[in-house]
């Protein structure tokens, strides 16, 4: 990394986004006044009620959407188009049913440069890399199974592998564990924690599970709904490595409670406005 360690890895400078010109003219913004500085290797979580613009925020970060106003820099570069140094995973694993788990994980390498050109020659090597990654998330031996032969939790693990196979500097997760049962979800928290601890990519996790955000993140941002803006920034100073036991400590519960308070207050004021 040539950038000096003080420069933020992700930098949002007063970013506003309206979905189209019509809404822009009416001053209706999906997200507004977003200011954000994320350090290299930082794990941040964004929590907030549904429909508050969390996913819009993700699209801004990856360059899939351009801001109406303001500037976004990632890794020192202004974001002008899709950002190839990022990997994404969503609530729906969206694996391709006609590809085996291994081929699904390999998909990004068939698309992103420079792997794309080398894909045929280095296929064996890439396959080994994918197998290794699958083993780390507990899917060893499942390479040749089709996604529909896997459970929901396994599919989500594979989906995260797909997001990481091209060794992105930034991982974007949009409610990745939302559709899983509580036990599987906690297992996957640990999987993600271990992956992050080992590789230290940046993570932006969008979720509405407060415990999840506190357990995993260095910093939690609370987002309000219409207007979508960050209202609270909370650093999580719980010691690492954290294990699931941490989630039962009073310190942990206090932070969750505090965040819950912010969201509760927002919902109440929102209800007043709506009346």
């Amino acid at each position: 990394m040539s950038t000096d360690s003080q420069a933020p890895f992700v930098h949002f400078d007063d970013v506003w986004l309206a979905y189209n010109d019509e809404l822009l003219a009416k001053n209706v913004f999906a997200v507004e006044n977003i200011n954000l500085k994320v350090q290299q290797g930082e794990f941040i979580a964004i929590v907030g009620p549904s429909g508050c613009g969390k996913s819009t925020f993700m699209k801004l970060t990856t360059g899939l959407k351009k801001p109406s106003m303001g500037r976004i820099h990632v890794d020192g570069q202004p974001v002008t188009g899709p950002l190839k140094i990022s990997g994404m995973a969503f609530q729906a694993p969206s694996l391709l049913p006609w590809r085996t788990t291994l081929d699904n994980v390999l998909l990004p390498l068939e698309i992103v440069e420079p792997y794309r050109q080398q894909f045929k020659d280095r296929r064996k090597e890439f396959e080994d890399r994918a197998k290794k990654l699958l083993t780390t998330v507990g899917l060893g031996g499942m390479e040749n199974k089709f996604p529909w032969e896997l459970s929901g939790g396994m599919q989500q693990r594979a989906s995260i592998c797909r997001a990481l196979i091209h060794e992105p500097k930034m991982l974007l997760l949009d409610e990745p564990f939302g559709a899983l049962d509580a036990f599987t979800r906690e297992e996957l928290w640990c999987t993600l924690r271990d992956l992050w601890q080992e590789q230290r990519f940046n993570v932006i996790l969008v979720t509405h599970d407060l415990r999840e955000s506190v357990f995993l993140a260095d910093t939690v941002y609370v987002m309000s709904k219409s207007p979508g803006r960050f209202v609270v920034r909370r650093e999580i100073d719980l010691p690492r490595p954290r294990d699931l036991e941490t989630t039962y400590t009073p310190e942990f519960t206090n932070i969750v409670h505090e965040l819950r308070g912010h969201i509760g207050a927002m919902r109440k004021s929102g209800a007043v406005i709506n009346q």
């Binding site: 699209k59 899709p82 006609w98 990004p108």
Partner: protein
């Protein structure tokens, strides 16, 4: 017999039952052969004229296959075009729907003027009637991509073309095979209808000439042969579908 076996043989059992009832009604009420021939009579006529029927059937078969082949090429290309471009979809789809509503038999006189009596009108009628479902299904398969999946790929720098080739096309294959099954039966309809007025050969021609000479048994044999050919081709595509896109039919495998 086990339930599964019964299910498997049920089409044949039903056919057998229909034939038996048909036979009983015809012979029981003494229905005239010139009005409604019995199955045994039809079968006898089929055997008697088997050489003629086979000739006409072969003609209908290959003409249908040529028309169907053109339909696949044109249907896939058009489907690809309108499924991958919103503008093309908006422009082409309404016109195509209007076109599809026209009875294709009505084109036959025009085609005769252009191409004369013979294979020309038959091939084109088969094509016109069968490309529409293929086009619509390819377009649907391409247009109903999950937006999340598209985002995952676009973030990696995938071009539209990459998304179409890696995801769109494989994804629309089950739709494609599904449409082939529908289209092939329609193609037989197209050929037969066209041959009835614009050919001197083929099952359609056989039907007309048998009808006008009051050979009802022969006319029914013609129908039988078209039905059998269409069903055989349907089963063929069904087989291909199951063996190439098994991932799309996993529900039925578990059942």
């Amino acid at each position: 017999m086990k339930r599964q076996q019964i299910e498997r043989w049920s089409p044949l059992l039903l056919l057998l039952a229909i034939v038996v009832v048909w036979e009983v009604i015809c012979s029981g009420f003494g229905v005239s052969e010139f009005i409604f021939p019995s199955p045994s009579r039809i079968w006898a006529q089929t055997l008697e004229h088997s050489g003629t029927i086979a000739g006409h059937a072969w003609r209908t078969f290959w003409v249908t296959m040529v028309g169907f082949g053109i339909a696949i090429v044109v249907g896939v290309l058009l489907g690809f075009l309108i499924g991958s471009s919103r503008l093309a979809y908006a422009a082409v789809y309404p016109l195509m729907t209007a076109f599809n509503a026209l009875p294709k038999a009505a084109f036959v006189p025009i085609l005769v003027v252009w191409f004369g009596i013979g294979i020309g009108p038959a091939i084109l009628t088969a094509f016109l009637i069968s490309f529409f479902p293929i086009m619509v299904n390819i377009a649907t398969g391409l247009a109903t991509l999950e937006p999340e999946l598209e985002d995952v790929l676009r973030v990696l720098g995938a071009k539209r073309w990459d998304v179409l080739i890696k995801v769109g096309l494989p994804r629309s294959l089950p739709y494609f095979y599904g449409s082939l099954k529908v289209a092939i039966t329609l193609a037989f309809v197209g050929t037969t209808v066209s041959e009835m007025t614009a050919a001197n050969e083929g099952i359609g021609y056989l039907l007309i000439s048998a009808g006008s000479s009051m050979q009802m048994g022969l006319a029914f044999s013609g129908l039988l042969v078209v039905g059998a050919m269409a069903m055989a081709m349907y089963e063929l595509f069904s087989f291909v579908e199951k063996h190439t896109t098994a991932w799309a039919h996993r529900g039925s495998q578990n059942a």
